[in-house]
Every structure is written in structure tokens, then in C-alpha cells.
Symmetry: C2
Subunit: 336 residues, 2 copies
DNA sequence: CTGAAAGCGCTTACAG
DNA sequence: CTGAAAGCGCTTACAG
């Protein structure tokens, strides 16, 4: 009934606990024959390591942490979190690392969670979401010595994974140019966020290089209504855009509404593309073309950076691969 | 730099480690004066318990686990999981319990995760999602002695939290009757699932008690198309329903499409209500009335059952509170 | 190549 | 009311 310990298997194999520990951990100083005998005994007795005891010895918990910040405002990001976690777990599993999660209610709560996890040696490192410039969390984690991987932006002291913002815009741009669209508008939210700034820059550069007329509408709310308003405004402007790129699907929804009110058919008269995908894009009529972000891959990358850091690598940064545009009815026509 | 241990604070307070342990854990056998001296010393030195060491001593990990089953098919449930976890954490935090998560790729993987967590003493108990009748997981967990709380159905050996299926239908029924609707249709999916059977029963009972004409359309796919087909069929039937209750928002979407094709206005000519809420219900035109499931509360309840079980209570079952109907345009008119 | 021993930080019978 | 001691299961210098 009781689980076997290394003492038990030492007794069974007729060796010392030390030898067992060495054999089990693949250290040398054990003859091949002895090692085999020990491993057999361990298997026969169904031995599994007790990570708690191991953690107490070596001061490592074999778990990492993820705090999901400010869930009150995170409603639109549920899909992202879910698939990001999926990716994390799939590669953490390979390194036998568990994942602890915490949902924070405020930034203080988040910092407190890090301190507590670290003080209690509950986790060996953490993933940090929604980074911003000069993020205070980077300093805190560095000060207490806690390994961290930031998701979305580079930091001074921690590892990071980066989304492909420029690459994403390039994919959209190529799609539109391929379909003969030469006048675009990009309806993005506030450009204060790093990743949106990057997108604007990439799109602008592309447009200039290829003689495309581009209007950028910034400083909008992320609501259907503001997508509607801005689209109407664009349709009334001197150069009516042939393609509308929306920061997310909520804005795009408003845009489609505006097109309908102006008797324009999305996908025929004007192309519509969203930088963010969701069930809404699939279900709405017409379905909206959208970038498939694949947060799962981002999670896998983040996990890999963490694993390497825990094995002693200096913090480094990994780029997300080139994203993919799911072409739906809202931008499917007019190939020439 | 090094974290203080109970030895350190024992030395500082001039007592034995035993005394410190007793004082810190609020056991008696320590004079009030001594206890205070010890607590002061602990605070002054910034002592925090090392849960790993404690776990090794008392064989408890102070963490519980949640495995999210079969993520491949879980796309529609991301919102549920997210908010369920939110609820879990908010009450687990009060009991100082951490949460470990795992996403399983198959049922075998899930069972393996339980075994491993338990063998390694990583968690003290687990939450189990998507229960079905005679769930094999109940036996497994019982066999290995792992405390478990099932979410959605009662089990032979474990604790459980139950959704309010009957209550949900009653809320919808009252809303419809209040607005003068006396002929309804309920478009549900397969009735093989326990919770759908419960809903049908509750709705049927209510309709009979109040002289409402009710048609139940079962055995439909959970797709927009099948919502469309079934609604068209209902509109052509002898008794055209004045209100359509859809199992989820995807079916409802198809229903609204069918109404539009028949020149009927949802919310005026025919009421539409969905048993499942999501961004889609808010965003579509007209917005769809829907039950606000609040998976977060369900999570809080589940956590409470777990906490009690870990403190020695026999497994018990908790009912979710009465759900709330969010009334939107699709069923807002005709009050009389 | 191998074993006896101390230690990780806490808890808990057991003696005083 | 209090302390010395053993133990949880593993790791790792240290001696042979």
C-alpha cells in the first residue's frame, strides 16, 4: 500500500540509497550492471520520485507559474489565454514541469502572487503577460531573483517571446495587393501599445514600398460602434479605401454594418480583414477574414525559453513564426 | 539574504524549534507571552513557511488540480473554463490552496495525469469536468483514494457541484409567460446528456402547469444550419410558436436567420432566447436574450466543497444558485 | 566504483 | 507548559 522509497529499492537491490539515487538520476559512479539491477528493482516496485522530497533537497519545485492579469477586463482574451496555456502545457510536460496558475485582481495582487510563490518556493519561474515599456514587474522579478519569461515584449532582465506584428501586417498586405486592392485603411486602437505601433510601422512601410494609398485611423475605442463610425467616415472621405483592416473583430463588425448601410458588399466592393480571429469572424455574415494568431505556438515558445533558463541559459528572446491569414468571404473575391 | 527558518527564529526568541512550530500553527501548549514573543520574532525576520518542507512532513501539498479535458473539442467552452477557473481561484486563495492545471489530450492522458499528480503528491485533490453517467474517473479516483469534486453531475464516491438546470428553464418560462407568450418551442440538442434531459422535464412540467403549448425539438446538431432548418420547420407547423428557446447561441443564430427570411422580427413577432450566453449574443442584431450561467460561481462552490473535503468532511453536493436571464432585444417587447 | 552520514525545513510523538 | 529527537524522502559532499 505504502509507496516505495529509495530505501526500499536500495534494500531490494542490495545497495545503498546513495547508489539508488545516483542510478535513478543517471549520474556516473555506478557500474552498468548495478545500475540496471537498481532500475529493474525500481520498476518492479512501481517507484515514482517524490517531488516534494526532491524539492526540499535541491530547492527546486519543478513547477512554473502563470498569473493571468486583471481578469475583469480580460473578457475578449479568453481564447488567447486558453490556447496559450494549451501551448505552454504541451511543452512543459516534456520537461516534467507542472503549471500553477493564479488570476490576479490588480497589479498589486499580481506582484504579491510572485513574491509569495517565490518565498514559498512553489514555482521555479513565471510567465508574465501583457508587458509594457519599463514594466515594473521586470525589476521586481529581477530583484527577488525569480526567472521570468515575458510574453509580447523584450525586457531588461527576463526572457521573452515576441509576436510577429510586422509579419502579420505583411501577410495581410500581400493578400490585399494580390487581390488588386491599392487603397487601404487601417483602423487600429490606441497606438500607445507597443505592438500596435509596430503594426502601423510595418504596414506604412509596405504601403510606401508598393505605392499603396494608406489611411491610418488611430485613437478609436474597441467597440462595434466606433468601428461603425470610423468606417462611415472613411466611406465619405476623398479616397474611399478598397480594403479595411481592423485591429480586432469587434471593430470589424461595426465596419461591416456601415458597409451594409451604404449598400456596399464586403468581399466584393470593399475587403474587410481583422487582425484578431474568433468565433464571431466565422459566424457573422459575411464571414470575416482574420489573422490566425495561434497563441498555442506562442505558449510553446515561452515554455521552451523557460526550460532553457531553468537549465542555466541566460535569458533570451524568441520570435513567433509567420502568422497565417484565414481568408473568408469578407475578402475572398476579385482575384486578378 | 537567506530566508529564515524556524531554527533561526527559535534562536532569536530563545526557545526551541518545537515551540516555534507550535506557536506558528496556533497549537496550544505554549504560554501566551511566549507565543507573542515568537510571532514577533517571526515577523521581524520576515519568516514565511516553506510549504515544501511542510508537505514532506505532513504529506499534504496545499495545492489542488484541474485537468481540462479534450481541448481539441473545447473551443466553444473557453469562456466557461476561464470563468470557472476564476471562481475556483477566488475561493481557493482564502484557504491558501494553489491550483495546478493540466490540459489533457485524451481520456487516457487525463487518467494518467490524476495518477501522476497523486503518486507525486503534487495535489491534495482534483476537480473533474464534463462528468457522465457511471463516469470511470469516479472509480479510478476513489480507488487511488484521491479526493475529487465533479462539476455538473453527482457521482458515487466524490463531491459535486450541480448546475441549476430546472431553475434555468423556470426563469426563461416566467419571462415568456410574463410577456404573454403562450406557445413555445424548445430546440435542444441530443437529450442523451443528463442536463438536457433535466431541462426538458422542467420546461414540460411548467408548460403543463400553466397551459402553455410546448413543442420540443430534440436530436438536432449544434450548428447554425440546423437552427435554421428547425426554425423554418416550426414556422410552417400547425401551431406557430410565439417563442423559441434554443439550447445555445449557435442554434439561435440560425433561428434568427430563418425568422428574417420569413419576414418576422425577433423580439416583436417571435421571441428568441438562448440557454447559453456569449459575445455572439451581445453582438448579433438583434441581440439575443440568454441565460447568464456564471461559471465563476460554480467554481467558487466547487472550491468550497473541495476545501471542506480536505478538512475531513464527507463528500457532498452543492447546487448552483438560480441563474439569471439577460433580456436583450430578441425578447424585449410585448410586455402586457 | 560504493557506502555512511548530514542536511533540506518542517511536524509530532515522546519525555520531562 | 517546554525541549531533545526522530522522521518525511530525497541529494550530495565526504571517506573509503
Amino acid at each position: 500500500m505504502k509507496r516505495p522509497t529509495i530505501r526500499d529499492i536500495a534494500r531490494a537491490a542490495g545497495v545503498s540509497p546513495t547508489a539508488v539515487s545516483f542510478a535513478l538520476n543517471g549520474k556516473n559512479g555506478i557500474s552498468e550492471a548495478t545500475r540496471e539491477r537498481i532500475l529493474n528493482a525500481a520498476n518492479a516496485m512501481g517507484w515514482a520520485p517524490n517531488p516534494v522530497a526532491r524539492a526540499l533537497s535541491i530547492s527546486r519545485s519543478h513547477a512554473v507559474g502563470l498569473v493571468i492579469p486583471r481578469p475583469k477586463s480580460a473578457h475578449s482574451s479568453e481564447r488567447f489565454f486558453f490556447h496559450f496555456m494549451l501551448g505552454l502545457q504541451s511543452t512543459l510536460a516534456g520537461a516534467d514541469l507542472g503549471l500553477m496558475t493564479h488570476m490576479s485582481t490588480s497589479e498589486d495582487d499580481e506582484l504579491e502572487a510572485y513574491r509569495k510563490w517565490w518565498a514559498q518556493r512553489r514555482v521555479d519561474g513565471v510567465f508574465v503577460l501583457d508587458p509594457r515599456q519599463d514594466d515594473p514587474r521586470d525589476s521586481l522579478l529581477h530583484d527577488i531573483g525569480m526567472p521570468a519569461v515575458f510574453v509580447g515584449d523584450v525586457q531588461a532582465h527576463s526572457g521573452a517571446v515576441l509576436a510577429q506584428d510586422a509579419g502579420m501586417m505583411r501577410v495581410i498586405a500581400e493578400h490585399l495587393r494580390e487581390r488588386g486592392k491599392t487603397s487601404w485603411a487601417y483602423i487600429c486602437g490606441r497606438t500607445s501599445k507597443t505592438h500596435i505601433r509596430l503594426r502601423v510601422e510595418a504596414l506604412t512601410a509596405y504601403a510606401q514600398a508598393h505605392g499603396v494609398h494608406l489611411q491610418v485611423v488611430a485613437e478609436t475605442e474597441f467597440t462595434e460602434h466606433s468601428g461603425y463610425i470610423e468606417t462611415n467616415r472613411l466611406l465619405a472621405s476623398q479616397v474611399v479605401p478598397q480594403a479595411l483592416i481592423f485591429e480586432n473583430e469587434i471593430l470589424a463588425l461595426g465596419g461591416i454594418q456601415a458597409l451594409a448601410d451604404n449598400d456596399m458588399k464586403p468581399g466584393r466592393d470593399v475587403f474587410v480583414v481583422s487582425c484578431e480571429d474568433s468565433a464571431i469572424c466565422r459566424i457573422v455574415t459575411p464571414a470575416i477574414s482574420a489573422i490566425d494568431r495561434d497563441p498555442s505556438t506562442l505558449g510553446q515558445h515561452a515554455a521552451q525559453v523557460m526550460i532553457d533558463m531553468l537549465e542555466g541559459a541566460t535569458p533570451y528572446t524568441l520570435q513567433e513564426g509567420v502568422p497565417h491569414l484565414i481568408v473568408r468571404a469578407s475578402s475572398a473575391g476579385n482575384r486578378d
